[in-house]
Amino acid sequence: MSDRATTPAHPAENGELITHNSQRTTSDAVQGSYYGLPVVKAPHWRWLVITYFFFGALAGGGFVVGTIAEFFSHDRALVRAARYLSLAAILPSPPLLILDLGRPERFLNMLRIVKLRSPMSLGSWALTGLSLFSGIAAGLQILSDLRGRPTMPLLSRIAAILGMPFAIFVCGYTGVLLAITNVPLWARSTYLLGPTFVASAFSSTVAALSLILGITGGEEKTGLRLARAGTVAVTAELTLLMLGLARLGKLGRPLTAPPLGLIFWPWTVGLGMVTPLIVLSGAVRGKQWSLRTRILTSLLALSGSYSLRMLMIFAGRKSAERPEDYFEMTDR
């Protein structure tokens, strides 16, 4: 908070409550604010939670794509990559969350109750469920790879099915978590933030898989599948994001206007979504991209997905500090 009072003595431009404006019309509903001070408070989440949002999406997305692959593509390499991706992404998730807690030693209290109207309560249980089923699926995958032949495929398919709801929830609940608050930027996009994050989970999972398979030399067919899935996912992500911004209007400024806007447009949208969309849709239409291009595109998509979550958190903090935004949201 700058040492100077936020309320200059002489008449201010933007209608903040000024110490001595001469005319005060009783009828203007929410023209002023209380010295420009925040009304609501943003959460204290920073890098640990942002990173968890990223890994959670891959963990959930990995499991979902793995299951889809298992039932719809008979592409063992893809299923294996997805299972291992899901396991790799699920392992760091709980520690990230626990470290972020004010009292980490009480992390088990997250499972002390079940509260259906609390996205955080639902998320805690979903993460637990996903850890279980992702563990089983990955465990069976490891056994299969060690033995050279599929082990207990039936159990693996059951786990895949049973784990699906938890995985889907973990994919997108991080968006819902932000939406079910009073931060104007998030609350005003209640029905779009979740979908955007789930789409982003799909696109980053596809990117991660094409990265893994690109490096480990997956077949050409898998690459086409991923390109087609990726095109759909990135298109959905970009559309939902733009719809959200349209819906937000002025309330979206913390995200779209400088300073965060200077990162959002070029990195999150440009490099993170539009570029991968071009490359993927090209691939779908048969364009042969070099391995280097495909890997670079995957990395861009992944970094774009991380930046989306990072900017959404930091823009949320800024949005909560603007009383006029909150009054705009609540009192109009």
Binding site: R112, V114, K115
Partner: protein, 184 residues
């Protein structure tokens, strides 16, 4: 506190649901104020002259809470911000607890014993008084006074304190420079 025993069904219902509102912890069931088993004395607020009556809750020699006294016709349990902060005045790490002494010209305090300080102050008082005591003025009027020693303060002190100060300093030592805030 809730006294009745909670059945297993109650516990589950209170922990799982759309919005389970009362998943109480063991401590919450036994909640009580920190005045349990405390003693209470009645005091007068040391700040302004409205004279609000204060309840001083204490136990084993430490103050627990200082609040307004409902029974007083002046404040009826209420207090102003200073009165409400009296606990912070009494229980305060900045409170002086030792006698500090600064030798002439020194740039620091030394901690000294109360006894040493009292003896030294008595010596200084006697020495200064003997040097400046006037029994009679040149024109023969008995005055019995000293203008070498002065006293200042008293508006925040008790009546009994001001009484013995005036009695010793004026009637006993002949000091005439005895003053307090009532004038400034």
């Amino acid at each position: 506190m809730l006294s009745k025993k909670r059945s297993l069904g109650d516990i589950i219902r209170s922990h799982v649901g759309i919005v389970p509102e009362r998943p109480l912890s063991p401590n919450t069931l036994r909640i009580q104020s920190r005045l349990e088993g405390a003693e209470v004395g009645v005091s007068v607020c040391p700040y302004c002259a409205v004279g609000c009556s204060q309840l001083v809750y204490h136990r084993d020699g430490t103050v627990l809470s200082i609040e307004g006294n409902y029974e007083s016709f002046i404040n009826g349990g209420t207090l102003c911000p200073k009165g409400a902060a009296t606990y912070g005045l009494v229980v305060n790490p900045n409170r002086l607890t030792t006698v500090k002494y600064r030798a002439p010209g020194s740039d620091h305090w030394e901690d000294v014993s109360l006894d040493w300080a009292m003896e030294r102050i008595a010596q200084l008082t006697k020495e200064t008084r003997d040097r400046t005591f006037v029994h009679q003025t040149p024109d023969g009027k008995t005055v019995n006074r000293t203008t070498g020693i002065a006293h200042l303060g008293g508006a925040t002190l008790d009546n009994e304190e001001n009484y013995v100060i005036k009695k010793l300093f004026t009637a006993g030592l002949g000091m005439v420079y005895v003053e307090n805030q009532a004038r400034i």
